[in-house]
């Protein structure tokens, strides 16, 4: 059981935990967190396999691949989190409109939707964002 196999199997377990989290959780942000965990696990496996090189220095190509992978990973994560944030705002605005329709007499008393209801509700139809 050489050092690289230790890390490779550890990274594999880490990847498995991340994949489990992605499909087991129902909450969007937990799923995004789990995908990040899975990605890091996979990169550990890749770097561990690079350590099998008989030369003192490990194989540099997998290192470059891991660097590329981490940057690609955070780009996808950032976009996913932004979409989730926008979804939270749209849902909060929808909830506000619902409250407004239920008690038309009393305007929603300073219902500061915690998720920042500051965004002007998107204009109906068309789908052009504000």
């Amino acid at each position: 059981m050489s050092a690289w196999q230790l890390y490779a199997l550890s990274g594999l377990a880490w990847f498995g935990v991340g994949m489990w989290g992605l499909f087991a959780h129902a909450h969007w942000v937990r799923k995004i967190l789990a995908v990040n965990v899975a990605g890091s696990g996979l990169f550990l496996v890749l770097a561990a396999l690079a350590r099998r090189a008989t030369t003192p220095a490990p194989d540099p190509v997998p290192h470059a691949l891991v660097l590329t992978g981490i940057v690609v990973g955070i780009s996808a994560t950032a976009l996913a989190l932004s979409v989730a944030r926008r979804l939270a705002e749209v849902e909060a605005t929808a909830r506000l409109d619902e409250d407004a329709t239920h008690e038309p007499a009393a305007p929603p008393a300073g219902a500061d939707a915690r998720a920042g209801g500051d965004a002007a509700p998107p204009p109906a139809g068309g789908g052009a964002p504000p």
């Binding site: 050092a3 990847f15 937990r30 990040n36 890091s40 099998r52 470059a64 705002e89 909060a92």
Partner: protein, 315 residues
């Protein structure tokens, strides 16, 4: 050597357990803190695997920027309706175990010693214009991957701008207040800029490079953003977009130039390779820093209660 193996064994054991803790903790805030801890322990593992480049990027981007990004999501995360009504935890567990078993079987079946491409990389190192093999792979042998990866970063920036247009959120930011984060930024940001420059320069002959430097620069920027010293520049501002696209456009220019003379895409002339790589990396640092900063749009700062803001943010 057994002491080294003991450390490796300990790290190899801690990582999956910590990963399980991150994924299984019910409280989101605690999960994110554990995620950052996981990233830092992973940086240790990278160091043990003689991968200093990855340790730097993992700590800076994988833990720092991703952690800050996730933490900025906590205020609105609870209000999000879940994706599916019943989480299929048991089915997912069975699936994950099966996948891990198969992949583990394959990993065990891999030959013990695999030279990989080390001889080829080291063999062509003198012609690559840099001494550090990872930088040579990233910006000369496989520079086409890096070019596409920078385009992926720009795609993320566009996506975030499309999804979270920073229209009115910017005007309602609290005025910069004398705050502790302000003091922290005064002390750390000059250092961050210095380290970023140092990392870019060092990238040619030692672990370092555009990604690590971009992440450190972005960390300084994030600190300024949260200290209200830096007003988030809207994506609509042409200057920001110009600075953002300078890196990819220069990279593309260098890539296309040889095509005109009948050479091949991204074929760096040997004499100029070192200078070109340094020029590309320097401009890429700005691009990477801007994109990483754009992951924190104005509306994130407007609504998240920055702990140090003495005056309450207007709702």
């Amino acid at each position: 050597m057994s002491a080294g193996l003991a450390i490796d064994a300990a790290l190899a054991l801690v990582l999956p357990v910590l990963a399980w803790a991150v994924v299984a903790t019910p409280d989101l805030r605690k999960a994110i803190v554990l995620f950052m801890a996981l990233g830092l322990v992973a940086a240790l593992a990278w160091a043990r695997l003689a991968a200093p480049d990855i340790a730097l990027v993992e700590a800076a981007i994988g833990t720092g920027v991703t952690g800050a990004l996730l933490m900025s999501c906590v205020p609105w995360a609870e209000s999000l309706t879940p994706a599916s009504r019943r989480a299929r935890a048991d089915l997912a567990l069975a699936g994950a175990l099966a996948v891990v078993a198969c992949l583990g079987w394959a990993i065990r079946a891999l030959p013990e010693a695999g030279p990989g491409l080390t001889p080829a990389v080291l063999g062509a190192l003198e012609v690559s214009g840099v001494e550090h093999p990872v930088t040579a792979v990233l910006l000369n042998y496989r520079s086409y991957d890096t070019l596409l990866e920078i385009v992926v970063l720009v795609a993320a920036a566009i996506g975030i701008d499309a999804v979270l247009p920073d229209d009115d959120a910017r005007r309602r930011l609290a005025p910069p207040a004398r705050s502790l984060v302000g003091v922290l930024s005064h002390l750390l940001v000059p250092g961050a800029v210095l380290v970023a420059g140092f990392l870019v320069w060092k990238g040619a002959h030692a672990p370092g490079g555009a990604f690590q430097a971009g992440a450190v620069l972005a960390a300084g920027g994030i600190l300024l953003l949260f200290a209200r010293r830096l007003r988030p520049v809207p994506f609509a501002a042409r200057a920001l977009r110009g600075a953002l696209l300078a890196g990819p456009l220069l990279f593309l220019g260098v890539a296309v130039a040889p095509l005109v003379r009948g050479g091949r895409l991204l074929e760096l002339p040997v004499a100029w390779a070192g200078v070109l790589i340094l020029a590309i990396e320097t401009v890429l640092v700005v691009t990477i820093a801007i994109v990483l900063l754009m992951f924190f749009p104005a509306r994130v700062l407007a609504s998240s209660r920055a702990p140090a803001a003495t005056v309450e943010d207007p709702p």
